[in-house]
Amino acid sequence: MQWETVIGLEVHVQLATHSKIFSGASTAFGAEPNSQACAVDLGLPGVLPVLNEQAVAMAVQFGLAVHADIAEVSVFDRKNYFYPDLPKGYQTSQMYHPIVGPGEVEITLDDDTTKRIRIHHAHLEEDAGKSLHEDFHGMTGIDLNRAGTPLLEIVSEPDMRSAKEAAAYLKAIHSIVTYLGISDGNMAEGSMRCDVNVSVRPKGQETFGTRAEIKNVNSFRFVEKAIAFEVERQIELIEDGGTVIQETRLFDPERDETRSMRTKEEANDYRYFPCPDLLPVVLDQAYLDHLRSQLPELPADKRERFQHALGLSAYDAAVLSASRDMAEYFEEVHRVCGDAKQAANWVQGELSGALNRESLSIVDSPVSAVQLGELVQRVLDDTINGKAAKQVFQALWHGEGDSADAVIEAKGLKQVTDTGAIEAMIDQVIADSPAQVAQYRDAEPEKRGKMIGYFVGQVMKASRGTANPQQVNGLLKDKLDALL
């Protein structure tokens, strides 16, 4: 039987506020345990939450970026359950009136086609603390620094049909939140976490199969792996005559499998009700318009502009717009050198190669965008040839000189385009290589093309890489052929 996979994602994004969603405690990562857990975060008696305006603004910015309806009135609810890292006994969340309503995100697939994934809603809530299950004399350690950190939970519709689409969607969300600057998107530190709902159904069937929810899927790669495993498990189960049960499963990256989490029968009875400690959040049109006017250009629009206004290939446009840092660097190089295609080649070629080799991110590049732009400009105006340009890049990378011009000057890399000077070098090389000249003369005419490479190399060497290669090629051919 042909099976179809149906996937929906719940993405929790930690918002990059300085303080918590309902208290003035710091949200900085990596502090001493419980040093950033105040009376409100601990749920001590008598405390009251006060909502952080920045968390609201960030949620709205996200909503605007995915063309969602923003709720004029949104309401916080209590989700009740007992767990030691939730000291209040409830998580303050938004169940019935979330701040962000239906929207959509466009994803780009490997073959450069795009697909729209609908967003059901996104709501604000607080994060819980962390339980440390290492051995504390048979006890569990609780760190509440993370308790109260603002989260935006983004819930998609079940619109994805493959693990690749799910990963592309997660990347699109990552790209949007980092462009907006509302999250650092650091998956390793848990700034973005993902639960995956997966079901399978016979191809052509209208109704959905029973879904399993997979927790703890915290990297782009794990999303694909967890889904691949889960789909296979469900299909095998059904084909062997079994039925999929609705349950929560945990992804284990070490064994590359999902397994059932022990479920208690009342586990999902959260008894939601409106939080009496918080009033309805009311947003007016002027506020929304103000935030809308401050939205940066978003990845999808940038990709579109790179491709159609700047004439880059779909691939280049996608790579260069994937992160805001990369896009800004590229745009600065382009602004300085004036040639989008060359700017794209240098950013994706020489620069990305060097960054990858040293595991640096583009913001930490030793070569600034202006420096690279000036370098590309010197290639475009024929001051240096491509080979010398690579030397200049290396010099800038290692801090040998402040600008391309300074390096070109200091190393004498200015391209020699003076025909007389090049001819003199060629004559010298020919005079120094009688054996190779003889071989060239005796060779079949069709093989001479390849043999010319040796002479080009010698001339370039004699010029210390500064001769214009096209000129060298042309002049050499003329001179050698004259000897025939």
Binding site: P33, N34, A37, H133, M139, G141, I142, P276, L279
Partner: protein
């Protein structure tokens, strides 16, 4: 709506409240009366009336995103039964 003993026991369990047999039967009676009142309210026509999210006719005030709290861990942990390395210790949670 008539409440049953099992409803009360389930609610008590979810809220982690210890309820004795006597108390349970009292609660069945008391809570049933409250639900009767709710049933009465359900009879009112509320077409076109927006649900009330809060009894106060006010909207949420927002605070600036500023860190105003200092580290008071030692003070807070004085009332905790067990702490170690700055962590609160609780009976082992089995996943």
């Amino acid at each position: 709506m008539a409440l049953e003993d099992s409803h009360v026991r389930r609610a008590a369990h979810l809220a982690r409240l210890a309820v004795s047999d006597d108390q349970a039967s009292d609660f069945v009676e008391d809570l049933s009366r409250i639900l009767d009142m709710v049933d009465q309210l359900q009879g009112v026509n509320t077409d076109g009336v927006a649900p009330l999210a809060h009894p106060l006719d006010a909207t949420q005030r927002l605070r600036a995103d500023e860190v105003t709290e200092i580290n008071q861990r030692d003070t807070f942990q004085r009332c905790a039964p067990a702490v170690e390395n700055g962590l609160y210790l609780v009976p082992r949670v089995v996943e």
